[in-house]
């Protein structure tokens, strides 16, 4: 081994970070760390081509203002120009499919916050592709594809990841960003509070005759929320929460029958509809880790907290984790601390655990309140929606929260460098 290789390996062991999972959060963590001078190895089970596939991931995400700033700092946002749609208004409606008439409207208008759009809708595949492109340009990042981690150990001085085929990587710490239900996190002894929702999430992209004018529609129906989110052009992303039984039927139905069900829920406001690409379905569940950190190990994003997609906050919470962890680690590195030490990692946990639990439980409560057909609850939420509409300060608070503007913001989410 040459002297340079030996030094690089030594630096990796003492300062570098192992990132397990190269998705949207794992990839952006590697990029932020590189911008702060911290090297990383990103290990992912998927082959490289997966990041560039058009049809791998049909989901779209609402990128909040804070997340957008993070993506700008990383040089990902500019590359996505033309593929993001600003959300100028949010229209919340409550009702029953059969009634067709919707009594209570809650209108969030971005002009009221004076902060610009509520967020930007983009298809996850664009994010995935551009993050991967940036990862491949970064000299401080090593990408390891098509590799499953079989064993993860934390010794007093380092974390070590061992693959099924016997290769190993060492770093000052390992961050698990493998999404919900990570088996690596479970094997490492992290415990979660979890429950399943009796709901399935259906996702599809539709083309429509009339323009959406940048309006996001959220319908609270008894089976769960049904959202129509504006994409670029005359296209929208459907996020449809349904009971498992009808969800299976809807998935199995032909395009015509599927679109008929869609029209029954959203009405004819967008004119004629047609499907773009395939439909996806996901069982919905909730999980929240009791601890985010152990010596030399940390959980991030959905591996720490998988929330209900009701308000499209999952990815934004993940980006907030990324910004907070990167800030904690770069500050620690600049003062010469051991970045994998428990007292350093606990600073990240302290900053994120409360925020994530509050958001996760809030989404859960909202889903439970609205996914119910009880007459009393319908009256309560009808009253609630009208009341929020009339109370301007409360409404602004909701809007700020949805835009990710509340709480102790990491510098990157305020648009400042590390």
């Amino acid at each position: 081994m040459s002297e340079i290789q030996r030094k690089a390996q030594e630096q990796m062991r003492t300062e570098g970070v192992l990132i397990l999972g190269g998705g949207l959060t794992g990839g952006s963590l590697a990029l932020v760390l590189a911008s702060g001078g911290i090297p990383s190895v990103v290990i992912d089970a998927a082959p490289r081509a997966r990041h560039f596939e058009e049809e791998f991931d049909g989901r779209a995400s609402a990128v909040a203002a804070g997340s957008k700033r993070l993506l700008e700092v990383l040089g990902v946002w500019e590359a996505m120009a033309g593929e993001v749609q600003p959300i100028d208004d949010i229209l919340v409606t409550e009702g029953r499919v059969s009634e067709g008439s919707f009594a209570h409207f809650l209108h969030f208008d971005h002009r009221e916050t004076g902060r610009g759009p509520f967020g930007w809708l983009t298809e996850n595949r664009h994010l995935r592709r551009e993050i991967r492109r940036r990862l491949e340009e970064e000299p401080l990042i090593t990408l390891v594809d098509e590799t499953r981690i079989q064993d993860l150990t934390a010794s007093p001085a380092e974390a070590e990841a061992l693959s099924a085929d016997g290769r190993s990587w060492r770093g000052a710490l390992a961050v698990i960003c493998e999404g919900r239900g990570s088996s690596t996190a479970e094997a490492a002894g992290f415990r979660h509070a979890r429950w399943r929702y009796d709901q399935t999430g259906l996702v599809a992209t539709i083309r429509h005759e009339k323009p959406h004018e940048g309006v996001a529609h959220e319908y609270f129906l008894p089976s769960g929320p049904f959202a129509v989110l504006p994409l670029t052009g005359n296209r929208s992303s459907l996020v449809w929460t349904e009971k498992p039984e009808p969800a299976r039927a809807v998935m199995a139905a032909g395009e015509e029958a599927f679109l008929r069900e869609v029209r029954r829920r959203m009405g004819g406001m967008l004119g004629g509809l047609e499907l773009e690409g395939p439909r996806w379905s996901y069982p919905l569940s909730f999980s929240l880790a009791y601890d985010y950190v152990k010596p030399r190990l940390a959980l991030l994003g959905d591996s720490a907290h998988a929330v209900h997609p009701i308000a499209g906050q999952g990815l934004n919470l993940g980006f907030r984790d990324v910004a907070a962890l990167a800030e904690v680690l770069t500050e620690a590195l600049r003062r010469g601390e051991d970045i994998g030490a428990l007292d350093v990692l606990e600073r990240y946990q302290r900053r994120r655990r409360f925020d994530n639990a509050a958001m996760g439980l809030g989404m859960d409560a909202m889903n439970r309140l609205f996914s119910n057909d009880s007459a009393i609850l319908r009256a309560v939420r009808g009253f609630g929606i009208s009341a929020v509409e009339k109370l301007a300060p409360l409404k602004r608070r909701f809007m700020a929260q949805a835009a990710g503007e509340m709480g102790d913001l990491p510098r990157l989410l305020r648009g400042e460098p590390l």
């Binding site: 003492t14 601390e337 051991d338 007292d343």
Partner: protein, 267 residues
């Protein structure tokens, strides 16, 4: 003890001794153990030390390895809680401690972390006699434990090279520090074993300043460290010197001394 000079050489060492020191090393480095208050305070202390040294040597404190190449002495190094971060910031560190049994503990931990640090059992007086010189000398939470403050500071100043800097931190002798460091930390919260501190030996800022002057140093900065129970962390406060505080003093460069001397500028 000889065998322990090279703790990595297991064959020549007594396994029982290694085991004993390993257990102690865990304790020095356990953020929830008896040294918990030092761990909690370490970030604010490290930022202060780094910022003062960078200020003196015109370096960017936010740059990675901000102390690259500087020779730094850590007086009263203990298990190496300060020496290791200084080494990670790029400094060549010598750690000295009069409590001999700390040295193998510190060595073992540094070895495990892959850091090169020159740990020595002994006193700063011995280093001064040997004529050693350092760009910076750091003694944190030490001056309240020494027998004679002025002599100790003088010895520290002797090993600072002209144009170099001395950074010290300690506790002021005030009712607040009695309430916090003795009643709070030792009796109520039990963060520290009782008797860790003798309040009468705490050092007020004016006393430290006087010791600097006698030792030929110029005080560059004094700042307080304030604990916030709500955030369970410490922050720097330049105005509140009532409990924990730190001070930095520089040794004038030789050229300056000549210029300052009476008649030095006369033709």
């Amino acid at each position: 003890m000889t065998a322990l000079r090279h703790p990595q050489d297991a064959s020549s060492a007594d396994p029982q001794e290694i085991e004993k020191f390993s257990r102690m090393a865990e304790s020095w480095w356990d953020p929830t153990g008896p040294f918990r208050p030092l761990h909690k305070m370490n970030p604010v202390r490290l930022d202060y030390v780094r910022d003062q040294i960078c200020g003196q040597f015109d370096r960017d404190p936010q740059a990675p390895r901000a102390l690259e190449g500087l020779r730094i002495l850590d007086v009263g190094c203990g298990g190496g809680l300060l020496s290791e971060p200084l080494a990670r910031m790029g400094a060549q560190v010598v750690g000295v401690d009069a409590a001999e049994r700390n040295i193998p503990v510190a060595r073992l931990h540094a070895e495990r972390m892959g850091l090169e640090i020159d740990y020595r059992a002994g006193t700063v007086e011995a280093l001064a006699e040997a004529g050693e010189l350092f760009d910076a000398v750091v003694c944190l939470e030490v001056v309240e434990h020494v027998a004679h403050l002025a002599d100790f500071v003088k010895s520290c100043a002797e090993v600072v090279r002209p144009g170099g800097i001395l950074v010290a931190s300690t506790l002021a002798r005030t009712p607040q520090s009695f309430a916090m460091a003795i009643v709070g930390a030792e009796y109520l919260l039990r963060w520290l074993p009782r008797g860790t501190h003798d309040w009468r030996k705490f050092v007020n800022p004016v006393e430290l300043d006087a010791a600097f002057i006698v030792a030929g140093l110029e005080t560059a900065d004094v700042s307080g460290f304030v604990y916030s129970p709500f955030r369970d962390s410490w922050r720097r406060d330049p105005r509140d010197l009532s409990c924990n505080y730190a001070a930095a003093a520089v040794k004038p460069a030789a050229a300056l001394l000549i210029e300052d001397a009476p008649g030095a500028l006369a033709p």
